[in-house]
Symmetry: C2
Subunit: 396 residues, 2 copies
Amino acid sequence: MKEIEGTIATPKGFFADGLHCGLKKEKVDLGWIVSEVPASAAAVFTTNQVQAAPILVTKEKMQAGTLQGVIVNAGNANACTGEQGLKDAQEMAELAAAQLHTSPEAFAVASTGIIGKSLPMEKITAGIQQLNRQGDAHRFQRAILTTDLTEKSSVIQSTIADKTVTVAGCAKGSGMIHPNMATMLAFVTTDAAIAPALLQALLKELTDVTFNQITVDGDTSTNDMVLVLANGLAKNPTIEAGTPAYHEFKGMLKAVLTALAKAVAKDGEGASKLIEAHTSGAVTDEAARMISKTIVGSPLVKTALFGKDPNWGRILCAVGYSGQPIDPATVSIALADIPVFVQGTPVAFDETIMQEQLAENEVKVVVELKEGAGVGTAWGCDLTYDYVKINALYHT
Amino acid sequence: MKEIEGTIATPKGFFADGLHCGLKKEKVDLGWIVSEVPASAAAVFTTNQVQAAPILVTKEKMQAGTLQGVIVNAGNANACTGEQGLKDAQEMAELAAAQLHTSPEAFAVASTGIIGKSLPMEKITAGIQQLNRQGDAHRFQRAILTTDLTEKSSVIQSTIADKTVTVAGCAKGSGMIHPNMATMLAFVTTDAAIAPALLQALLKELTDVTFNQITVDGDTSTNDMVLVLANGLAKNPTIEAGTPAYHEFKGMLKAVLTALAKAVAKDGEGASKLIEAHTSGAVTDEAARMISKTIVGSPLVKTALFGKDPNWGRILCAVGYSGQPIDPATVSIALADIPVFVQGTPVAFDETIMQEQLAENEVKVVVELKEGAGVGTAWGCDLTYDYVKINALYHT
């Protein structure tokens, strides 16, 4: 299993394209990913009770278990747009399908951007009619971005039953990033052969330890979706649960989802650094994940690390209000690999070395408990002036 | 029942003092509140599992049901300080008691400030020995502040069974303000006669709709405490549950706790305005309170209101992820008394008037649901550049 250069269109039989249709001022804002043949599909969606039209429309389409592609726009979330919104989302799928002479049922729909405005369907219609097979997958990867600063993608290749199998993913994140699904858009393509039900079970399991473990600001969006398409063109024997092929594929999918999740956290709105929290010795893995997520979600930890302040008191405080069982007397904390609090007692450290470590663009917090064998990791980013600026100036 | 000018020492038989003992650079940082006679005592404490030494020591002392005073310092939280911290907190109580020739068991202890450093006990000892009966209660009210900008107090007077009864309170807040207890320090004095158990029950009930309904940043501190002392010197017949006297006293205590809670929210770190969210029509009062609190806790709502942006989409989104049952199609939202979303549909409003309203230093969000009869209010503040500045520069 190795990371390779590539895009969402690298797995066999996929193409992708993106273009500017006028939802954003200048940047690309519309795109698609398409498989040459119907693909096993799996998806997880936002847990927000207010769900945007494309979420509702795509949930319907998932019932068949297969899809051939997804049409995506940025700049307008098509959320809180009532009946018109549902019609518009459905029409996006129909237009994409018409362009490729496939069934509209085969197209998922995703949107991101401003809430509460109807989609300008003339622009979208004209745009979709210009998408094509000889497209540029990088343009797709950029077309889904909003306040993101960087294109986020990951491509992993391996051999399964003597066949070369590739898993590729791309994502958009930035603000409104918090728990329980996905809280952003991510798309994964693979040429592996795997049935929809097993793909869905894998996606759900891996989302809990990847996308559901990142937080930027604790807000859960109305539009979040992670969608996986597996078209089988690698010609491997269909992957069955519990086999070596299953474990290899699971490792590949986990690597892609982890890379995308970390990239989303690192590119959180206004962020200057990635914060990774790792907890061990918790009562369960779930407890460890929750403790890690509470740490990376604490505004006081986030601002301290922005200020390069080794404020372990705020980390310990977050551990204490995580809701998980802990004994303060047995907690140990290391910051940037430097122990700062050991078995309930502060320890001295070299301030100069610590300052240098905290100036890096990735900072690791390690918490060790003595409650059990649970381990879990979460990712977040620091809280900066720019987060406030971006969100105070983003006017409706 | 009326609001009057006064301080924490206004109820009969209380005095308070504050001075600078050297924990902060220049400002007052040490003080006490004392009742001339033993007082019924009630308290609620932080739910954080990491609890500072003064919290642990005061919990012990609460078991007797009566106290005669509280000794408080700012500048050092005496948290994560091990055995030494417990000894130091106990010694603060003993020094205060010795100064007044009372039992050390009669003194509660509270601390706020930096975590993980032992108290400089020489400074504290010298300071306590200079506190006296002819003190200045305003100096106490200032001595408990940290990054707070304003002294926070509220005094309510009424007549109960022909006796003049006074309830007074003061508080410190600012950062680390979130749920489930109190997430700050507040002290309430009253000359009403009421038994400890009934006072405790009332405090718990009223804390749930006041202090537990404010949020500044979602962090729960290790040191939070609300303490009420009722010394009976108003000479009213001891208040019994369910009587007219009980309802009058409850109203007074609620008025003081509400005023202090709002003052703490309004003076949140870096805040430029108070945000009040009121939800009605939820399945229960608890659900309504949680929805209101989710709105005022959303970083995206907080930054939008800092930017005077009438971003009802972010409000609706917060309603959706509050975890409480709602139907997006029946939600209505008014911002600054202007309807922006009615029964699931956006409505047009006058942008100019809205801008003027959002420039005020108090902004109200009203959410109406159709799920039931539950109502609930929460208070918070906007998220500004100054919040980031204060917390990134506050170095350990």
